[in-house]
Symmetry: C2
Subunit: 580 residues, 2 copies
């Protein structure tokens, strides 16, 4: 059956996209992929180490998470430009989940992080295979924006300890802020200076240098590697400074220290029931959040090239990528917004770019780790801080506040609960609140009295247009489907109008906006008809949608209601009533 | 300000309805109120004792809950015919909540029941004063039906121990059924015989006698008291039998025993923080469930007389009624469906009927309690069983299954979780599931390709009607508001059509059914416009609702979209496109 329906080759390449682009690889694409791969690697080395520290893991774990996973994604990913690897928000989620069960720096902590990555992989793989990728649509823009903003603040402030060079226990957000403010006097001046200089340099490269190069007529292909190399440059300069001035001993600047050389061994993470059930809630949240982040940027970039990414294939690819990370000493990875954009801008054409990045990181791990011994932690902290504070999304909030207060409310509530209750609970509260708001909103629909446009058979809201109404007839349009939470609201409105209009003989419910009527709605219509009947008012339905009418006929509703009182259009109803 | 807006007298009588009907009481109403009051009392004496046993309380508590509460309801209730007092479902909720913290029969248990009633009273009073009665609209018909059916089964089977005369510990539903079946051989034969005879008699009175009396030409006013007196009759006959044949000793039939004589003292229930937080979740559920049960029957009966009940006033009245019950030795009460209908049928005109019932119960408590000494518990159990098995609502389920599978699913899931996880969790799961189903449903809206009716400017679903379409133009109508969970679905549908129709030059989104567009929806429209633009397709919106358009203009969406591409009607759009 399978073979009859489609060519097996086609089916396989759908699940393993490298079979498609790999077998038709254009030689002309190679320089582009090569350049993009190198630039992303330049960003990824310092980012990988920094995000690993953020996750409470040794820096090399961030590099391990940037080798095999990138190769696996290159094989299975449906996006050609997505830059997977460690990202800030997933890292803080890892820290918050694993930190609850083990002490950062211990073997247990590392083991739990590997297990968590594997769980995330399994969940994403499962979601992809069962094609339930649509579930992430329930994380709306406001919730995502509120979550990202809140998480970014948490991440940024969590780095204050490295930037100030002080010891700080694991704490809630507000405690962290208070602690940092009250202990600022204990800060190590040289550490702070290094951090501040590095932040200044990063900001200069990020916001100023690009424009200057452009104005100086530097080609795009050269300008991008220059502007994106700021973190690497800082790492090199900072490490050199510490080494030459012996700052780690003379000024107690904290350094990364010994980073083991060589590729990580392939292992299987431990999977005990107890551990799994502890980590499962966060594993689900990471799976969703990581997928949302990946698919948004992947879709945006694919659209520019008129390509499409398949959400479920992306889930499969990310799932396999996370499993690969867990089995090669890495931790949870996802598509990075910034690196994907850079990858695209630098001209990446296929998944080969991702694989080239992986090879460079692999060479770094084998040959260059001794260089990182004197790397000051405050520099990695400054890289994280500059990256995440840009994610605090005030612009989106302002837009939502203007457009729709409810969306703005969802964003605020997510933002605030993320800060107060932690990131995982924040997401859950955000999604819950937007669903409740949606239902609440739908329970108080807009109801308009409708009138006829002069000399046209078009009926419009009498409150907004100059239309003709007729006092024997009340025509109401409810701008919502009828369902349990709003049937009472409609019934009350009808009775209110019934009291106001003593001459009313006909009530027409205009159903253009009624997309479905649930059982509670049908029961209400039945009882409303009885009440109107006793009051001497005939009840009409106009412009009722076909599928709803069919079901009404099926359960015998129309027998009592009178099929002759259901009209195709509002105008038809008015003609029958004699009030057109 | 208050005095300016309305006469204080009117305002006061709104909150204390007795001021309205009491000051204009018609003498002609007295015989009706008197008869109705007596008949309800005849039902209430055995029911009150039976439901108290069901709640795990001594029988007199059910009678105490039928004195002061009925007087208070008569004063504050906006329904003239609602018969308040103990009911089966609230009783089982009390048993399930209090049974978790104390042993039935102890003083602690009784104290907790009083506290629970007081909490319910406070919650209902608060809901009424803050006018949030609409919240109960979120308990839909399917959930209510599933809940009632499940709770009725639990109640019915919980009475098996009395009917069989065996000891049975407090257990989950399925354990109870299994236990009863495996221990049926230990049943006391005389107890079982009494119970079975009593059930047969109750069923005869309930289903057969009414018709026989009618055919014999007995007047309605006489037939009702006769048919409704079955429980009282059984109590009298059973008690007499036990007394004369000494069944409580010769055959170990369990009897009610000593019921203290006299009115209960007025007391204040204990309110400790620990107790309150234990009981609060169930108190909320009882508040909601009891209100839903009361308001449904009150509204149905008021509509017959073209009167209206005020939901918030009903909450205030029920709240005060429950407080009164807690302060006079009773437990949680609510409006009983069966007694309210009997009250109405028997001709009750005002709250005086309720007060007359209270006086009769009061006299019973003072003078007649010695009569109940030999009353067998199996008779009370049979009364409960016959009352509740009628509530297992297969008819509603069949209707929902036919009309709307989702409603049927909500009903089943509520029913099953009530049986598996207990009544309180069942309600929560039911409400949660219907909200999720609603959101899920709204996330996969119906999308129709629209065409023009020949020689009319009316546009209908091309799949259902014989209409004219034009291959340069795709006109889609989405039958749902645009919001976070469905924007992806619409975008995917548009892209699918874009692939199918190579000649497409214009895409018209017909917005008749779009009642609101949230921020996620607006962001999607923006990106869809960019994509269509690049594909050489012009994007139009037709029949967009005024308030939505206003907000689009406010946030500058229309600047980029082009206000000239937003049309008042579908036809107008087609005329502009040149494809009418």
């Amino acid at each position: 059956m399978f073979a009859n329906k489609m060519k097996p080759r086609f089916a396989l390449s759908r699940y393993i996209p490298i079979l498609k682009w790999g077998t038709h690889y254009h030689r002309a694409d190679l320089p582009h992929d090569l350049l993009a791969g190198i630039i992303v690697a330049i960003m990824l080395v310092p980012q990988g180490m920094a995000y690993a520290l953020l996750a409470g893991l040794p820096p090399q774990v961030g590099l391990y998470a940037s080798i095999l996973p990138l190769i696996v994604y290159g094989i299975f990913g449906s996006s050609r430009v997505l830059g997977v690897g460690p990202v800030a928000i997933v890292s803080i989620l890892v820290a918050s989940a694993v930190g609850g069960f083990a002490q950062s720096g211990t073997v247990d902590y590392l083991q739990l992080a590997l297990t968590l990555a594997f769980l995330v992989g399994i969940i994403q793989l499962g979601m992809g295979l069962f094609r339930v990728g649509f579930l992430v649509n329930f994380i709306s823009h406001p919730v995502l924006a509120g979550f990202t903003s809140g998480a970014s603040l948490i991440i940024g402030f969590s780095q204050l300890k490295h930037l100030l060079g002080i010891d700080m226990p694991r704490m809630e957000f507000f405690e962290t802020v208070t602690y940092a403010l009250t202990h600022a006097n204990e800060a190590d001046p040289v550490t702070v200076m290094l951090g501040v200089l590095s932040i200044a340099m990063l900001l200069y490269f990020k916001f100023v240098l690009g424009g200057q190069l452009e104005r100086a007529g530097v080609r795009h292909a050269i300008a991008i590697p220059i502007t994106k190399s700021a973190p690497l440059l800082i790492v090199l300069l900072g490490t050199t400074a510490v080494y030459f001035f012996n700052l780690n001993e003379s000024a107690s600047v904290q350094i990364v220290g010994n980073v083991p050389a060589g590729l990580p061994p392939l292992t299987m993470p431990t999977m005990e029931i107890g551990t799994i059930s502890n980590l499962l809630p966060t594993a689900f949240i990471i799976s969703f959040v990581s997928f949302v982040e990946s698919i948004s940027v992947a879709k945006a970039l694919a659209a520019k090239e008129r390509q499409r990414v398949s959400p479920n294939q992306e889930l499969i690819a990310l799932g396999l990528t996370n499993c690969a990370s867990a089995m090669s000493g890495g931790y949870s990875v996802t598509g990075s917004f910034s690196r994907s954009v850079v990858n695209y801008d630098a001209g990446a054409k296929t998944g080969l770019a991702s694989m080239i990045t992986a090879v460079i990181i692999g060479l770094t791990v084998i040959f260059l780790t001794p260089l990182f011994y004197y790397l000051p932690k405050s520099l990695l902290a400054s890289i994280i801080m500059v990256a995440v504070f840009g994610l605090v999304d005030i612009k989106t909030f302002r837009f939502m506040w203007q457009y729709n207060k409810e969306d703005a409310f969802s964003m605020i509530i997510t933002f605030v609960t993320v800060l107060w209750w932690g990131i995982e609970k924040g997401v859950l509260v955000g999604v819950g609140s937007e669903i409740l708001l949606f239902v609440w909103h739908a329970s108080r629909p807009h109801i308009a009295v409708m009138g006829r446009m002069p000399n046209r058979d078009i009926y419009l809201n009498a409150a907004r247009h100059d239309v003709i109404t007729c006092d024997r007839v009340l025509a109401l349009r409810i701008d919502q489907s009828l369902y349990f939470a709003n049937v009472q609201y409609l019934e009350d409105a009808v009775f209110r109008w019934l009291q106001k209009c003593p001459n009313m003989q006909h009530f027409v419910l205009i159903c253009t906006a009624i997309n479905s009527i649930d059982a509670s709605g049908l029961v209400m219509l039945e009882s409303l008809q009885h009440s109107l009947d006793e009051a001497g008012v005939t009840f009409h339905l106009a412009a009722l949608k076909g599928p709803i009418k069919d079901r009404m006929i099926k359960v015998g509703f129309t027998d009592e209601f009178g099929i002759e009182h259901i009209h195709k259009t509002t105008h038809e109803a008015m003609v029958v009533i004699g009030c057109e």
